[in-house]
Symmetry: C2
Subunit: 428 residues, 2 copies
């Protein structure tokens, strides 16, 4: 039997408490599986007095996470504070520099500072693990980095922010507006303190940036992501999409093209019969595509005490078992600098517009699309009482550039009543 | 840079050729990810002359897999011959005994001889890996053994035989009988040389036995599985189940109960809106449930050259990266002997029967069910022209024992026209 593996845990929110609970309750199981006792030496959080529903009296307390991270009786620093820099990054760096392994759930820190931290960890010969940073309990980092290691990855996709998927699903099921459901979700405590991290797509984009780096052997490049949140998704679009057989999801997509790495996080339409289309509420789903394996779909809880703590414990168990890998699956110094490519990959698009209700209006729009090389796959005009006619179009595959030209020319026809909505349809 | 990792591959069917192809085509990628060149020293198969569409001239040839497995220039023996014993087992044992690691796709060998092989591998300090043995390209062994290592696993379920799922899906979509679709699938080459391995549920049960051992820390116990194939699933049941909102799947379920380990592989009803219910054709799905993580669903191709070779390469890459684990996730000598429990876990049941068309028949059946403590959740009697009336019943949760009593008493009422069909409904 090896020596115990001793943890220092910084951050005692939901996830931190979940980790403490697993270590206390599953001691026998963890020892059977890893061959070592897993213990907690010390903990740290902002407020010492708070009742967290779990006993901390056996553990030393540190006010300063850097002091915690560098304690002699800590082998693994477990960083659950969050934040792309500040104390989380300082303590992570301090831990690595004195030869500790680090496990974190911090997607922002990895997405923004992942390259530097990976280089530091590898120079020190330590592990920096982050299964909990992407898609909660779904073991997607392991699936991609190890399970599909024999594949050239062709595309990575995912619905990776449960709050956004909850809002979009609730809008569809209730018929209420974005603003109404946003207020409801916020009241239920489903959103981050800064809700823009959720609804602006930033949190999900952090996760996509991490997956991209592993999938394509590139330096994590959060700034290269084409990013659009769900704030502008209207109940009209959700209804119209449903009518055409689609759901609207905040979907992250990363794929390598001849021009560079395309990374998009934006509201997309997906077929309502596809696994992504059928994903309701706060559940997460990641789709991994490889040249040999084809398509692998992973589904599970993307947040919450148990699922996220489960992912943290997967990393802790790997370290206890002596399983070590480069941070992004290959040495950080060998990762390529990716060229961020604006999306040129053709896709069908969904267009919703209102046309002035006079003869020839629809013909003009159809002509403009044709001139821009955008061909129409399906079109519907709805009955209406007002002076403008609602029209839905699903195009054949086209590039974003061709579509932009068409939209710009539509504006000049004089038959548009208001701004059209254009959303990408992601093929599965 | 470490020394190359040198493989000896025995078995050059679809999967073996897929592995050779990945190693030839993805040499750069594999070296970047594992830090080592991965090479093939020698190969072996039954027929040397056959054109397999891939060049083998760079590799030594061995007629005898044992000779291949023990060559000095082989670090990892890749066993892709199949068969629970015979040459596959002999060569695996020989490889382990001379200090080689082994990667195999052989579910039968693991399900029948896994305990002895695991003890041998661990005594020799070698790896015995088998990601490809369960659910093809889905990295389910890794997800369960490593990704959910912090969980007490509560239930493992899966549709793990693509041929059976293809047959059941085709029956539903075509309205044809089992016999017709069986002949069609056989003609298309979708079935094993001995089709009983597929349609009798044996292949899927091999996989379930392997997952159970990892999930519950028990010795692999194929004989403890309650096993029933799909041969008796009728088109009438598929139609009736659909009418009640269910699909029929050959579903494997393993769960630990107070009385021991329940392992079932049998046709079950699942809700048609659930991920399992929506699984069409040859695709596989595994559902893993843990106390912390909740439910994780994994979906992907369960067979075929690329997907299965992808899984073999995941194991090869793990070995190249120096990642070593006990064969079933904890030392083989520490695995418990499981008590095979007949299913006592209550479940709803689906009953289809024909009743003699005379007053009071239905009342008698309802009374018999009530007396056995089986309560009715839903019942439908269909219009009919014949002398017997088709009746469907979905019960509330009941035990298999109570249901058996009820069925036996029904037989004595004199109102049954023929044998009733009873199928378990698995709750998700």
């Amino acid at each position: 039997m090896s020596d115990p593996l001793r943890l220092g845990i910084a951050g005692l929110g939901t996830v931190g408490v979940g980790v403490v609970r697993i270590i206390r309750q599953q001691a026998v199981l963890l020892e059977a599986r890893t061959g070592r006792k897993i213990t907690i030496s010390a903990v740290s959080a902002r407020s010492r007095g708070k009742d967290r529903g779990v006993s901390l009296k056996d553990y030393a307390w540190e006010d300063d996470p850097v002091a915690l991270a560098t304690r002699d009786d800590v082998d693994v620093f477990v960083e659950l504070m969050g934040g792309e820099d500040g104390p989380a990054k300082a303590a992570t760096e301090a831990a690595l520099k004195v030869g500790k392994d680090v496990v974190t759930a911090n997607k922002a820190m990895l997405a923004i500072n992942g390259q530097a931290l990976a280089e530091l960890a590898e120079a020190e010969g330590r592990s920096l693990r982050y299964e909990a940073a992407v898609a909660g309990g779904i073991p997607v980092i392991k699936a991609l980095m190890e399970g599909l290691a024999g594949n050239e990855i062709t595309r990575v996709m995912g619905v990776m922010n449960g709050s956004c998927n909850y809002i979009l699903t609730r809008m569809e099921n209730s018929g209420k507006t974005y603003q109404e459901i946003f207020a409801e979700a916020d009241g239920l405590g489903y959103l981050e303190a800064d809700p823009q991290l959720d609804v602006g797509g930033i949190d999900a984009a952090h996760k996509l940036a991490i997956l991209s780096a592993i999938a394509f052997g590139t330096k994590v490049d959060f700034d290269g992501i084409q990013l659009e949140g769900i704030e502008r998704v209207s109940i009209e679009d959700i209804r119209a999409a449903a009518d055409m057989g689609y759901k609207i999801k905040l979907l992250g997509v990363a794929q390598k093209t001849g021009r560079g790495l395309e990374q998009r996080m934006q509201p997309c339409l997906v077929p309502d019969t596809s696994p992504l289309g059928q994903l309701e509420g706060g559940t997460n789903m990641v789709v991994l595509e490889g040249d040999a394996v084809g398509q692998i779909v992973l589904r599970g809880a993307g947040a919450g005490e148990g699922p996220t703590a489960s992912a943290v414990m997967a990393d802790v168990c790997d370290i206890a078992r002596g399983l070590r890998l480069p941070v992004f699956g290959q040495p950080a110094t060998s990762l390529q600098t990716s060229t961020a490519a604006q999306s040129q990959t053709p896709a069908p698009y969904y267009l919703r517009m209102a046309l002035v209700d006079k003869p020839g209006a629809l013909a003009k729009i159809a002509a403009v699309l044709g001139e821009a090389g955008v061909s129409i796959y399906r079109m519907r005009q709805y009955e209406h009482d007002s002076a403008s006619a609602p029209v839905l179009i699903v195009t054949h595959k086209t590039t974003h550039a061709a579509l932009r030209d068409a939209l710009s020319n539509m504006d000049k026809t004089g038959v548009m009543a208001g701004e059209p909505v254009a959303l990408r349809i992601e093929e599965l």
